[in-house]
Amino acid sequence: MLQKSILALSLLICSSVFASLGDDESSIQKDNTRLGGTHIKKQVQQQLFSVHELQSDNGATIKEYVSPQGKVFAVTWKGPLMPDLNQLLGQYFQPYVDTLKADGKRHHGVVHVEQPNFVVHSSGRLRAFSGLAYLPQALPQGVKIEDLQ
């Protein structure tokens, strides 16, 4: 019971945050509502981009990377269960699923979908998933993939 009260309280305080890849920063609010999570860290300003770190209700830690123009150009996740990728990938979720379906080969142990306009990389297994998705053409100038950590 105590746990439930604490959860309810945190949801009240942080009632919204999370966005879809390619969306405006303002949609981070929408994302958090959908994922039912908590925004555990405020925006951390860096030189080339800012990061929102969020917690989904199914235990994943999610980071959303926002360009100086206010666009979400990358997301990462790490957790025991898959986060809501439809919410995180937004318009790129269906192309991602279509690419997975077209690739008949299973049991690979990693998933790497690379299209001209988006990249999704997913690894791990139940209890320990992690992944990253980004828009190669939307990376702010000077930002390398290695910087997304």
Partner: protein, 420 residues
């Protein structure tokens, strides 16, 4: 996983009670032929079943090890079916069957697992997709062992055809034999449950759902003892883990390779960890090791019979083909060091050949010990995981033991992997 000890005590108790009243729960039967888990033959030991690495139910696979199992409605001798092409996976936990591979009459005769009068349904999450379907109770026979009333998942069961958005939003659907690449999967990993404490504590775990009818489902908490269990752990004996033995391949390839899945570790004369074996204790929550290869360290390393290839990044040293596999101009021999949580290490060699040439030169082969593919972690930033997977190629010519967490064996208490 955390908080395992209390549960373990409970599980042992249940196991004792069941074997005391069930008249043969998990007990090997002397009448091997009538047990017919499907794949016994006269040369097999009583605690073993035959493994086959063939092209799979879709005739297009390589490096997938299959067994047959027998599923019966509880206490029924009529509503039974032997199902072939059950993938043996040391990387997941629980028995799952594809509904489209089952006789509809057998499937419908299985009783639904319930929680508070609602049906329990699972959204199993594999890396490349989700598998949705109800948990049901069945008498499962694997070789000479029968587990009465085992909870299993029936993937793609039409009685729960409405998939919750939270489930379908995790990836592509793997709900048919064609998509799944097997008629079922026998998950015999180091962990006792597929999810563990996470799904027992959070109702938002999005793995387990309770459905009040065919279309109304909500995420729910499920206690660890009601989750899918490691099937071998439910046997009344030889229940502390498994041993997989596959023969070495000739010239790196094989067709319809036959090996054995042997139950128990150090419980019979045929399953003791060898004196020359390396015993590596895996991370208690992720079941991983670390690996070192060519001066790179991989923090998320594991031995997995359910992965078809060697998966790792080689810092761009080897080219890849359009199929995504490594295709070096000549075969490369690589040395890898596995290190466990106690800093114990073991070194082994393997080779990576040109996958396109291997497939083209051996069109009917189903086993290859030198096929690899990049994990592409390094191209994707500093992900928390840097992956090294020793897939089924690792198993050829080896004995590989997988000890279940908290299970005592003569060589130590699981979770560990051992090989020689």
């Amino acid at each position: 996983m955390k908080k395992r000890l209390a549960f373990l005590v409970f599980l042992s108790f249940v196991s004792v009670v069941l074997s005391g009243c069930g008249g043969g729960t998990g007990t090997p039967s002397a009448a091997a032929s009538s047990g017919s888990g499907g794949s016994n033959n006269s040369s097999l030991a009583p605690n073993a079943v035959s493994l086959t690495v063939d092209a799979g139910p879709n005739s297009n696979d390589h490096n997938v090890a299959f067994i047959s199992i027998k599923v019966c409605a509880h206490s029924s001798t009529i509503n039974c079916q032997t199902i072939d092409h059950i993938l043996v996976d040391t990387g997941s936990t629980g028995l799952r069957l594809l509904a489209d591979a089952m006789s509809p009459s057998v499937n419908s005769a299985l009783s639904q697992a319930k929680l508070n009068n609602s049906s329990l349904v699972e959204c199993m999450q594999f890396l490349d997709g989700f598998s949705w379907g109800p948990l049901k109770k069945a008498d499962i026979t694997i070789g000479n062992y029968t587990v009465s009333n085992m909870t299993i998942q029936i993937i793609g069961d039409s009685s729960f055809s409405s998939i919750p958005t939270r489930c379908s939003n995790t990836g592509a659907s793997d709900n048919t034999t064609a998509n799944f690449g097997a008629k079922g999967i026998l998950g015999i990993s180091n962990t006792r449950q597929d999810c563990g404490s996470t799904c027992a504590q959070s109702s938002n775990s999005t793995l387990y759902y309770q459905c009040s009818n065919a279309t109304t489902c909500q995420p729910t908490t499920v206690t660890v003892d009601s989750q899918l269990q490691q099937p071998i752990s439910l046997f009344s004996q030889d229940n502390n883990g498994s041993l997989i033995q596959l023969p070495a391949l000739t010239a790196n390839v094989g067709t319809n390779v036959q090996g054995s899945l042997i139950f128990g570790i150090g419980t019979q004369s045929n399953n003791s960890v060898g004196s020359n074996a390396s015993i590596l204790y895996v991370h208690p929550s992720t079941s991983t090791l670390t690996a070192q290869l060519q001066n790179s360290t991989y923090s998320f390393a594991f031995i997995d019979s359910g992965s078809t290839d060697w998966i790792f990044d080689d810092n761009g040293l080897m080219p890849t083909c359009s199929t995504g596999f490594y295709c070096p101009s000549s075969s490369q021999t690589l040395t890898t060091i596995f290190t466990d949580i106690h800093a114990t290490s073991s070194t082994f060699n393997f080779s990576i050949a040109n996958a396109s040439e291997a497939f083209n030169d051996n069109p009917i082969a189903t086993a290859f010990d030198n096929i690899g593919a990049p994990a592409r972690d390094s191209q994707s930033g500093n992900l928390p995981h840097t992956t090294f997977i020793a897939g089924l190629p690792f198993f050829y010519g080896r004995s590989v033991w997988t000890a279940i967490e908290d299970a005592p064996t003569p060589s130590g208490t699981g979770p560990y992997v051992a090989f020689q």
